[in-house]
């Protein structure tokens, strides 16, 4: 049985198109300092640093962990870099959590980032290699056919994705850190935006953001003494599967279902829609909301879109299970950080510290990240009460 651990500090940067005023080190540093301030701690209080980052080729800084050691106060401390493509922000938080849950470390800083304005994420995502399948499509081109298959199977109406795009931007307008601020967005505006990768329109895709996210995770003794309310980690799980194999269900991947079942079991969740108060789920393209509603067990297979269309996932419509109250990946996408932002925003909710996008009385929240060809999954459940 793992030791108890909790989030005692959260720091983020304002997500935006370009942060020309800071180096990559300065960007990462800003989130880390914000987390230390939130926890009322100093560099000396940190025992180890766990850094997450999407592929090195994105910014072309090979082994950024070496370059960022001084910016993150790692001198004389263990530091480790985690790398699981787009899910990395989530798996980094889980590696940090396991450092504390194992009893080996008392208090760990975890940080993840992306500076998309200085990167080449579109093409560096899928480097062509000799004698292997070339997938020079970028993320949207890869996921669009999978979405089309979901639409075919579920008979979902064509505007489910449009609804998600509007809903998450309205959520984002409540969050001052969100990159896109579109409080007046309409279904018509999304529908009329140009088609990028059929069926994904421009406004149904995530933006490219610069930003970093950090958390401080502490053991039970230190979390009990934390300056602000901690978010107790109630379950942690990771799963992976190959990008391609015969018979793989790319619409509803087995690894995602298994990961959810594992994390729910640890947290005592039998009915995620009922037992959880909200969820921060990695939805970089609008249609992934209904797909993940099914993959994560919030709705039976083929019916996830109904929750979306009923407003169940909308804060503004008073839904019973709001998804991505922060605006989600559709409002801010600093790739390496995006998974950690989901985990951190789930923690903010159960700390009662989510400002204008707070779900009133949230006690139990899910943080979710996926990456690669929807093949890496990282999830945690955090709660306001110590288990």
């Amino acid at each position: 049985m793992a030791n108890l651990a909790a989030v005692v500090g959260i720091g983020q940067t304002k997500y935006m198109t370009r942060r020309l005023d800071v180096s990559i080190a300065g960007l990462v540093r800003e989130a880390a300092v914000n987390a230390l301030q939130d926890a009322d701690l100093t560099w000396d209080d940190i025992d180890a640093v766990i850094l997450g980052k999407a592929p090195d080729m994105f910014e072309g800084v090979i082994m950024p962990e070496a370059y960022l050691t001084d910016a993150l106060g790692c001198n004389g401390k263990p530091m480790l870099r985690v790398h699981t493509a787009g899910s990395v922000g989530g798996s980094t938080a889980l590696v940090a959590a396991s450092h504390v849950q194992s009893g080996m470390f008392k208090r760990v800083l975890t940080v993840s980032f992306e500076k998309q304005s200085e990167s080449n994420a579109m093409w560096a995502l899928s480097n062509p290699q000799p004698f292997s399948t070339h997938l020079n499509a970028g993320a949207g081109g890869y996921f669009a056919p999978i979405i089309r298959e979901y639409m075919r199977r579920s008979n979902a109406p064509y505007d489910v994705g449009i609804k998600v795009a509007v809903k998450d931007r309205l959520h984002g307008a409540r969050n001052p850190l969100a990159h896109l601020q579109k409080p007046d967005i309409t279904m018509q505006e999304v529908e009329e935006s140009f088609m990028l990768w059929d069926p994904i329109r421009f406004l149904e895709a995530c933006p490219s953001s610069d930003g970093a996210c950090a958390m401080i995770i502490a053991n039970e003794e230190l979390a009990d003494k934390a300056s602000k309310k901690p978010a107790w980690i109630r379950g942690v799980a990771m799963r992976s599967e190959p990008t391609m194999y015969a018979g793989r269900d790319e619409v509803n991947p087995q690894a995602g279902r298994d990961c959810a079942a594992d994390v729910y079991k640890q947290a005592g969740i039998t009915n995620p829609r009922k037992d959880l108060d909200c969820a921060e789920v990695y939805v970089p393209f609008s249609w992934y909301e209904p797909m993940w509603l099914e993959n994560l067990g919030f709705a039976p297979e083929g019916e996830g879109w109904k929750l979306t269309m009923e407003g169940a996932t909308s804060l503004d419509e008073g839904g019973d299970i709001p998804w991505n109250c922060s605006g989600g990946v559709l409002s801010s996408n600093a790739i390496g950080a995006s998974g950690m932002i989901r985990f951190a925003e789930a923690a903010r909710q159960v700390r009662g510290d989510a400002g204008a996008h707070q779900v009133e009385g949230a006690k139990l929240a899910l943080g979710h990240a996926y990456g690669g060809g929807a093949q890496f999954y990282a999830m945690w459940v955090v709660g306001s009460e110590k288990p």
Binding site: D70, E118, N120
Partner: protein, 146 residues
């Protein structure tokens, strides 16, 4: 035994990137354009050149810039007898650790010298600026013996 024929394909991978240098490295490069070299004062009082953003001991942000001299002393060196294409000079030269006047740590750069015998630890050198300075590290073309 004959060598098996193995599939083989030339493979080159490259992307274009930009970089924001931030307030510290950015200042250092801007000063180079003005033919000036700056270091930064660390928490223990040492002047570090090129400047670094964060203190190596306390991890605090550093901001106290210090102008250092355009002359300095060779701390150690390695002579390059046969320069290759990628080297900064096409005649024999030295890579050297140079402690600039007013700095407490050396920085690495190349030193032009007529021969290996002409260079030594403790030798004095001075900066040679490029004809046109643009805010790159190559604004310092090399160092030469005083």
């Amino acid at each position: 035994m004959s060598q098996p024929e193995v599939l083989n394909q030339a493979f080159e991978l490259g992307y274009t990137y930009t970089r924001s240098t931030g307030p510290v490295i950015g200042r250092f490069l801007t000063e180079l354009r003005n033919r000036n070299i700056v270091g930064i004062k660390a928490s223990d009082g040492r002047v570090v050149v090129p400047p670094m953003e964060y203190d190596p001991n306390t991890a605090e942000e550093l901001s106290e810039f210090v102008d250092v001299g355009q002359q300095g002393e060779i701390v150690s060196f390695a002579w390059v007898k046969e320069p290759r294409e990628a080297h900064p000079m096409d005649v024999p030269f030295a890579w050297a650790m140079i402690k600039l006047d007013g700095a407490d740590v050396p920085m690495i750069h190349c030193v032009a010298a007529p021969s290996e015998d002409a260079i030594a630890t403790g030798a004095r050198v001075q900066v040679v600026w490029a004809d046109e300075t643009i805010g790159y590290i190559t604004d310092i073309r090399c160092f030469e013996l005083v």
